[in-house]
Assembly symmetry: C4
């Protein structure tokens, strides 16, 4: 496996995504279906660009110890704090190359083989939720299904399906609440109150992760609702145009809720340095979306494993260059926010 | 009706405007006649660009109620706080496709059908004022004629003409006061003192709106003169080059005069998100100019109605994504000014 | 005369300068000989760009009076505070189209006809100083010769020549002090101490202007030396690369020395709005360089007169749009510095 | 010798480097081997770009004295504070044009002839360290070998080799500590503790310079370890992507350790003005890397001497334009940090 060849293969196998040199949201802006950000595309683009404004403070005068990149979550230890973000309905958004099952298998098993874990997606059509769940079931529950904010019965039904597969945790992308298109196809979504969420979360013993938090207020409501964790996310810029980037709201949110729940973040993370920055600014772990699809289309299970180790290796190297021996040692003093 | 086809038709029917992917003032800079900003074009360009620096704070954890986008003004209720800005003499500025009457009918009736209202224009030649007034008369006074700052007699004469048509309100684009070209054609314009304006405003029972306010000082003088409202506007960058953008002076002006008169704003607003931002920063309603012309040339009455509902729908969606149940609920905490 | 044709003619008659749509120092950067800024060209480019960050605060609610753009200097009244900056040795820097005498005649007489005045240049070869002086002599001393910081005897000799022609004032571009090239051609220049300058200034009854001041410290030394005025100038970026822009040091300098001597400024001024900005930020008058050459090559005497009235007209219009009845009424409250 | 021809020759003789008009890290980003910055290349690019934000405060009103650009270091006086940065293994990174010996001879002798000194490099293969050392030996020890942070024995062995050649000083690029590639080739590098460094530094009487300091903390550790000097450096962006630029950390570091050890800096310095800026912000001297290679490939020994005098001449001129009579007179008041 070689990253250059992986990218070349991905270019052949994907129709919508150009597999740009830099995945920054510019070429694909406005392309939905497809993989772009909504409208001006600035939600996606800003995610990438604001990460460029976090710089690493290099210091190699220290006594080297073994560097440990692992993290413990849901009672399990993962090799890196790097997880695949939920992406679904891939024939619609990417190409005909993979069936939903094949795609999700590449992602779920590739992450598992690399020692991390994948979030999986949901959609109007039932197979978008069920196919990844099938793969997760075949892999001892090693995956995190993500449910859209449907009507309560539908949510609870899907949580039950997930429990049957003994998944490690379950998530809800609450920021999909404004997708009127889903309602037009007969499956309305809507915002959920703290009470709604309390009831949903209380219905399962699974750790419950709320994805799509972009404000301190939202994060505090997630704590109140009893969530195991949040994903600071603007849905890759696909549900609302012109939001802030996730990396700029992360420190504000972390300052308020760190320790009360786990903080994941996604949006434009493209290297192990970016993962390092997120952790320095208060995240526990990072989700990566579009590049994982490229890895899957470019190299299948192996490609996903390779990509995870590539990003993980970069994180490891950044820790050496800053003197951080484990994830807990990565702190704000190791980065500088510029401009 | 479909926005892509509307834009394609507009490209065919307009001569001066390129109907760019993004209407940001760059391609047409300096083109007067035509639809550009004056000189460097930076007045228009900055309007668009500074709006990009207002971000929406997404939060979908709340209990959903019916979302109400309507606003009451002049004793009437409008479906959205989105009005067409005055544009006139369209053969000169756009193309031969429409007579003045046909163009203004598309705008006035299209807005009315969508539940909002159009401002109409004025010029050296009498038909530029009278043709839209004719349309407004045919539609129960559903329109707001805008008079240039001519000599007092001429202004009063035009107010009388407007009253005869039972218009809902009347406006004056006081920022046209420096257009020497009008004087050269025998119809001089000039700045007006607060006393001048008091006399003009006192001459009619119609709500009187002063368009072209860009400073707190100017807004306070409008209050003193007894205006019903102001339009924070730099005339789309067409009367003075290198002004500030309207969105950056809006909060300063709103802080001083909110509640004392109605605050409209125009300049570079291109989406329902932009309308949301204006309201969050203190506007009551938004005027949109050039894109309404594109809608008219691209789809006539229907195009204008379609466009209004498109922008209104985006406003509605943004309110869902932030938890604002009506326009009064939209406040500064729902946006972040960046950069 | 028409500005478009003037520019087209200039494009034909000049060899080095591209007569760009916008004269901002980018196309010609590093071109010396030629008309570019030195090195990276950033001294010139920044002059233009920082002017874009000064915005005009439009307000047309006031009682209009006659607008007066005139200024009194050297006991004379000028129609506008807009003067031609010294440019010399035009065969070297522009093209063979004009002899030095022809070029300087276009500039000196054109400015005089428009009611303003031109500064003229100096160089290693004597004709660069003497030819413009000849033109000034033919026009009742209506011009300001600018002398390089040569050895004292040479400076005094040139002041005497200027006095013979009854010039209105004399200037020295003290920022040419580092041009080693001049020394290599046998005519060394050097910095001058306050005492040196006192002696030089005391040697003549002519008002003496020090050109090339970029710091408060330098301005205070000019006051101490007894200068009539200073020109805040970085020599169009041609004597030292990577200085600040003149518009950004102007307010600091003005705050310290305003009223103690006259403050001129040059560097990237391209419109009457730019002139307005300089005056709002503390200048008494503005010098314009390269665009005057374009006017001369594009239209001779008439071109220079036309150009002066064009810029002056823009200043006049800006005063109407802000309510400034004369130059003294233009103050800092009428502009906003952004970014 | 002529700089234009030097550049043209360099373009012929180098394979990897495009010898751009401006050497700013953009064209070659990510090219390793080659001469680019790592990953996004932003470490290199930012070095160049942040230097553009330091402006020179021009003032030529003063009494001129002889300008002295020289500096005393290691008990020797150098004509300029401008040294060649260590670059090695040139067949791998540049082209086949030079053997390692030929290249290093051009650099070492060219610098010596110009009155300054060169740092030389190190690598996995022994000749990368030994060939330049051979040249230094042939030139009375006039050079500074730079050793990678190998295992201690290897470092001490190389220091002994350097001592035998009577070099003026020895350096270690401690920021190479994360280059896993070296370990894969059987020569592991690693971070060094203060105690490690104390032992290494105590092992020799040579002045010891630690290269690759980017934080105040790191600089204080270098003081504690007994270093003669540090090089504020991000290794031209080649060891860790997305660091700060060196010019922006320099003032912070200088404020803490100036006077306790010598402060060198490298990264994107391209002119004598840039050297002036570094000294104004607290550096004692500057290292220049890639442009020295271009000088060597473009003109051999003579090219390197020519280039050194070119940059030194620019420094000299900048001192005239600011009134600095020697390096100690260059202070923070002579520059302005903008943006």
């Amino acid at each position: 496996m070689n990253y250059k060849i992986l990218l070349e293969n991905a270019r052949k196998n994907i129709k919508s995504c150009r597999v740009c040199q830099v995945c920054d949201g510019k070429a694909c802006k406005g392309e939905i279906p497809g993989i772009g950000g909504k409208g001006t595309g600035l939600g996606f683009i800003r995610n990438y660009e604001k990460l460029r404004e976090i710089k690493i403070n290099m210091d190699t005068i220290y006594s080297l110890q073994e560097v440990d990149t692992s993290i413990k979550l849901f009672g399990k230890r993962f090799k890196y704090p790097i997880f695949a973000a939920p992406i679904g309905d891939v024939k619609l958004n990417y190409s005909d190359f993979f069936t939903e099952y094949e795609y999700q298998k590449a992602i779920v098993v590739g992450c598992k083989n690399a020692g991390t874990i994948a979030f999986t997606g949901d959609g109007v059509k039932d197979y978008v939720f069920k196919k990844p769940l099938e793969v997760i079931g075949e892999n001892d529950g090693w995956g995190i299904p993500t449910i859209k904010p449907w009507k309560k019965d539908e949510i609870l039904r899907k949580i039950r399906l997930a429990e049957e597969k003994k998944v490690l945790a379950v998530a809800m992308d609450i920021d999909a609440a404004g997708l009127a298109l889903l309602g037009m196809q007969g499956k309305p979504v809507s915002p959920k109150s703290v009470d709604d969420l309390k009831e949903i979360i209380a219905s399962t013993k699974l750790p419950f992760i709320l994805k799509g938090i972009m404000t301190v207020k939202g994060a505090l409501k997630a704590v109140e609702a009893g969530a195991y964790g949040i994903v600071v996310s603007n849905h890759g810029g696909r549900v609302l145009d012109e939001t802030l980037s996730t990396i700029e709201v992360l420190p504000m949110i972390s300052r308020e809720v760190k320790g009360k729940l786990k903080i994941f973040v996604d949006g434009g993370f493209r290297s192990g340095l970016d993962v390092f920055k997120a952790i320095a600014l208060g995240a526990d772990a990072v989700l990566i979306g579009r590049p994982y699809s490229i890895a899957a289309y470019g190299g299948g299970i192996e490609g996903v494993e390779f990509y995870t180790n590539k990003i993980g290796g970069e994180l490891h190297n950044t820790m050496i260059m800053t003197g951080a021996k484990d994830l807990n040692s990565i702190d704000e003093s190791m980065v500088t926010i510029v401009k």
